[in-house]
């Protein structure tokens, strides 16, 4: 009996309390916020403000999502027009994608006046000009920059190497070898020395050798397998042509067909030997410039 009354009392209290709370609530049956509710619950944080966007963009950049990072940095750049950081990060995002052409485009658009830039930005501009193959502009900007003299000479040596002027580069290195202490300068100097240790192959000589003995030009350019194949192709076709002509004279169709193939392979081999020499030289150049390019890309 007592328990029943206690239970009724609890129910009554609960109902009364609910009714009172309902009175405190604004009398509205729509879901749209009223002035009171807006005043009562202000937004605690805006996830799309500059600070949050920047943090998110940094995360995207760190995780290698360069396209998304670029979009997010664009928002930050719009929200903070005086901040150079998001603009620089947009440039760096293009570099992350190895799209140096676009990176330079963004850089020139965001930072049009080179002389007013700070040193890291100037260095970035020089790097982008070098990676885009605009060596003349890179050198002009380098001497106009506020980099220290050691760095200027180092980068100038790097640009000379990228231009494939190996002898000039070595002369530059020897001129300041004992003065400058920059390890990158010595790395560049050694790259020039290593490149000049390997002599270029002459395309004319390679073609001449192949004209004398088919395949010999390719031995000269160290393509021994190609040399063997050329010798076999030309030799076998010539032998078949000789067999045809020996049996049926100059009216031998067999002879003429193989003679045609033989001459074609012979001339192709002469031409190909000259090209192989050029390819050999290009490969040596690439090995040297790749080393310098890696310094410009990752270690500047």
């Amino acid at each position: 009996m007592k328990t029943r009354w206690i239970r009724r009392l609890v129910w009554l209290l609960m109902l009364t309390g609910g009714a009172l709370r309902a009175q405190e609530r604004p009398a509205t049956d729509s879901l749209s916020p009223t002035k009171d509710t807006l005043r009562a619950k202000p937004a605690k944080e805006n996830l799309f403000d500059a600070q949050h966007s920047r943090r998110f963009a940094d995360y995207l950049f760190r995780t290698g999502q360069y396209d998304y990072a670029t979009e997010e940095y664009q928002r930050v750049a719009f929200l903070q027009p005086d901040d150079a950081y998001p603009r620089m990060q947009i440039v760096k995002a293009q570099e992350g994608k190895k799209d140096y052409y676009r990176a330079l485009g963004y850089f020139e658009m965001f930072f049009p006046r080179f002389d007013t830039l700070q040193v890291p930005f100037q260095k970035e501009a020089i790097k982008l000009y070098v990676l885009n193959g605009e060596y003349g502009t890179a050198r002009k900007r380098l001497w106009a920059s506020r980099l220290d003299t050691t760095r200027k000479h180092t980068l100038n040596l790097g640009i000379t190497l990228m231009e494939k002027k190996w002898k000039d580069a070595l002369a530059q290195y020897h001129r300041r070898e004992n003065i400058l202490r920059d390890p990158v300068f010595h790395q560049f100097g050694l790259a020039a020395q290593r490149r000049l240790e390997h002599r270029n192959k002459s395309p004319l000589l390679a073609a001449g050798l192949s004209a004398v003995v088919p395949g010999l030009g390719k031995v000269y350019t160290k393509n021994y397998g190609d040399a063997l194949m050329s010798f076999l192709f030309v030799g076998l076709n010539a032998w078949q042509a000789w067999r045809g002509f020996r049996k049926q004279g100059v009216r031998s169709v067999h002879g003429w067909i193989f003679a045609g193939f033989g001459v074609s392979f012979y001339l192709g081999n002469v031409w190909g030997s000259a090209k192989a020499a050029k390819r050999y030289n290009r490969k040596l150049d690439k090995a040297a410039t790749d080393e310098v390019r890696a310094v410009f890309e990752y270690n500047l």
Binding site: E108, N132, G225, D226, F233, F265, L267, G268, G272
Partner: protein, 121 residues
């Protein structure tokens, strides 16, 4: 420094093909008549015709055995289109002698095709 505003055009799959019933992969129907249609003189047209014939009736019956990308026949027709009939033909003949297992180590590898990459210079 020129600056192209805007993004690159979207990459649309270039193959034209029918979907074989019950298979997801599209059947590639290559069109080898490009050199024929774009020949700028009679000699290139003749080589284009030879290329078209070879690709449709000879090469299509064989496995893909060239070690290079582009293949030797494509290389020759591209070289002819680029350098003219004489030099292009010589380049093609040289390429045929280079197309062997001895090419190993002399050329970069194209990861998509898993072949040696040797484009026309």
């Amino acid at each position: 420094m020129l600056w192209a505003q805007g993004a690159n055009p979207p990459q649309v799959p270039s193959y034209i093909g029918l979907t074989r019933k019950g298979m997801d992969a599209p059947v590639h129907r290559h069109d080898w008549s490009g050199p024929l249609r774009h020949a700028h003189n009679e000699a290139v047209f003749v080589f284009g015709l030879l290329y078209w014939t070879y690709k449709n009736f000879i090469s299509s019956q064989d496995i893909d055995s060239c070690v290079f990308v582009p293949s030797c026949s494509t290389y020759m027709i591209l070289a002819i289109q680029k350098h003219g009939v004489f030099i292009g033909f010589l380049e093609g003949m040289d390429r045929l002698t280079r197309c062997s297992p001895f090419a190993n180590g002399h050329y970069p590898i194209n990861p998509q095709a898993r072949k040696y990459e040797d484009p026309v210079d």
